[in-house]
Amino acid sequence: MTVDATSQPRGAGDSILRDPKVRAVFFQILVIVLFLAFVFYVGNNAVVNLEKRGIASGFGFLSQPAGFGIGIVLLVDYNAQVSTHGDVLLIGVINTLAVAVSGILLATLIGFVFGVLRLSNNWIVNKIAMVYIEVVRNIPLLVQLLFWYFAVLSVLPRVKQSINFGDTLFINNRGVNFPSIVPESGFMFVVLAFFVAIIGCVILSKWAHKRQDATGDQFPVLWTSIGILVGLPLIVSFVMGNPMHLDYAALRGFNFQGGWILEPEFLALLIGLSIYTGAFIAEIVRAGINAVSHGQTEAAGSLGLQSGTTMRLVILPQALRVIIPPLTSQYLNLLKNSSLATAIGYADITAIFAGTTLNQTGQAIEVIAITMAFYLSLSLTISMFMNWYNKRIALVER
């Protein structure tokens, strides 16, 4: 049977059923209906179940007293009797941010160092970096965290037998104690001087750029900036008569008093997260630098640039374009992995809010929704910042 396309105009009834557009609309309506039915079914079940268990809904629980103690509290006051579940949420958020930000900085440092070592011409250095990367990447993070916490930090000497570094730094199984800076009146001026110095550095680097564009002369921006950043606060502090003193930690009774302390929970989480993520970042850095073609190095060499300058001005700017997108997802992974804090008792948002508060109030839906919203918005913030940075360094094409 032959089909003559021209002699067979599409029939009216035929076209409605076979028209892709009509089908698409019909299919989408079907999907919406099914989706809404699913949401309604689930929501209805949840309402019935909640009523049956006598669990209140709404966010009123945030202003109820929490009534449980928290191991690590930064920046805010917390009192188990008076403070509310809202305070618990705030402390969880601060603790998560503290470990995530310091973890990101440390992991980036470790990752870049080992990524460069992995590319070293030196055979043994190269192999050591490879062993680190291959061992750490293939072991679950949770196992590593438990290892650091239970097998390394918990078996450190007890408080009385602390490892002592010149009476300033003490390491024991309750953490690392080191002296704190106690501000006195007039300390604000030193802090102010530091911020002025930062602004001065920004202006200096802009001026140096302009001058280089105009005259071709380079200005030692890095060293001058370091000088300003260190010098200005020091001068101000000296003028004001050093308005601060160091508070040394000292053993009184059964525990250390004074100074600052890094708790073993925080340390284990920080070390575990940054060593784990650092291994992934090292591979990303290696791949990024390898992606810059060797001709670039040769061209830079033929222009007379030295190897350090070549790395800084030619290789790294191009490698960063390859490195930044996967680096962003590693930062997001680190943030999400910081929720493993709950396994070693660090008081992050998952441990105290999605853990203890949820168990006490039973308001699973609200608590989980707040926790997820927190992680989602933080993830979006990090990826927005990294996208902005990525755009700034992206290849400008005509």
Partner: protein
């Protein structure tokens, strides 16, 4: 007159400083002043690490014995691992029934080998066995039925539970991920929005909160009387979580296929499912296999998180062992054992992924 040499001078060997061991050392270890310093420091560090590792785990370690009192050396106490080995591997699975798990392992290993390696020309039969028949066999074998006594999932544990979690999750996540990826690239805005929403929501939150959600909220969402097993709840959470990651991997593969392939399929008169199933997906999946294996490695490592919602996987069984009053103070041995077990699996998979990448890298090789 006779100073002009007529015959060719024999070729001399290259200078000894440039070849052989000396040349290699000069080039790779002592090429510059800085490199030499680095080499010496690195050798010292490596020597220290290796010697303390070997003396800890072999020379000063104890292997024989039945209790902690038998550990007299200063090194590791492997007696701890040996004494609890059965529990570490199978959890509380009844000892008389453990042969069922072993049969499952053997069948799975044979099926995997036939599908993954190049021994069989056609992989249709082994694939049907592995993805169609094997899960059914395993269900009855592990859970009970057909004359086998029933073993509740609360008794499952150890490495066995870890492997069950990983394989079931990947078995569900891969097809779901493909559907989500197709939905995300669909031209229908509603479908696309739902898929993008699901993928980005799940990828933006930690696995723990997904697991919490599955274990706390899933019972709330079900009608009265329907109660899921704890293992099933964790499986739902893990499968949905890894499906979102799988979807992004598959989307990467789909994007790499030129549009011409789809247009050619359309011009041949193939419909959506035909052109996807016969033309686009086979190519897209082929190039994303290494990334899928990498996602699977991540999933395998993530199975340890179920210990937080109270399942007895390998990590939590060993962790429970370290708090046993007869075996106190052996946390290091326990975690080293878990780490080594996971490392062997993950490193093996990553090598397989590299091998596969090279094998599939056809047509682009120079």
């Amino acid at each position: 007159m006779a100073i002009v040499k007529t015959e060719r001078h024999p070729e001399l060997p290259p200078p000894t400083t440039q070849t052989g061991v000396v040349g290699w050392l000069r080039e790779n270890l002592f090429s510059s002043w800085l490199s030499s310093v680095l080499t010496i420091v690195a050798i010292y560090v490596a020597w220290q690490a290796m010697s303390s590792l070997i003396s800890y785990s072999f020379i000063n370690a104890n292997f024989a014995g039945v209790s902690k009192e038998d550990c007299t050396g200063t090194g590791a106490c492997w007696v701890f691992i040996k004494a609890r080995f059965g529990q570490n591997m199978y959890g509380f699975y009844p000892e008389d029934e453990r042969w069922r798990v072993n049969i499952g392992y053997v069948l799975g290993a044979v099926g995997l080998f036939l599908v993954l390696s190049d021994t069989m020309k056609s992989k249709k039969l082994p694939a049907i066995f592995l993805f169609g028949i094997y899960p059914v066999i395993c269900y009855f074998l592990f859970f009970g039925g057909f004359g086998l006594s029933q073993v509740e999932t609360s008794e499952w544990g150890g490495l066995f539970l870890t492997l069950v979690l990983a394989s079931v999750s990947i078995f569900v996540a891969l097809p779901l991920g493909i559907v989500l990826a197709l939905g995300r690239r669909s031209e229908m805005p509603v479908v696309r929005m739902i898929c993008v929403g699901f993928i980005e929501l799940v990828r933006g939150v930690p696995l723990i909160s997904v697991l919490f959600m599955a274990s706390v909220m899933l019972p709330l969402f079900m009608p009265e009387g329907v109660n899921f097993d704890k293992l099933v709840r964790a499986l739902v959470g893990m499968s949905l979580f890894s499906a979102a990651y799988m979807a992004e991997v598959v989307r990467g593969g789909l994007q790499a296929i030129p549009k011409g392939q789809l247009e050619a399929a359309n011009s041949l008169g193939l419909g959506y499912w035909q052109s996807m199933g016969l033309i686009v997906l086979p190519q897209a999946l082929k190039i994303s296999i290494p990334a899928i294996v990498n996602t699977f490695i991540g999933l395998f490592k993530d199975t340890t998180l179920v210990s937080i919602v109270g399942l007895l996987d390998l990590l939590s069984v060993v962790k429970a062992g370290t708090t046993d009053k007869n075996w106190l103070g052996l946390a290091t041995e326990g975690y080293v054992f878990v780490a080594a077990t996971f490392w062997v699996f993950c490193f093996g998979m990553s090598r397989y992924s590299i091998w596969l990448e090279n094998k599939l890298h056809t047509g682009h090789k120079r």
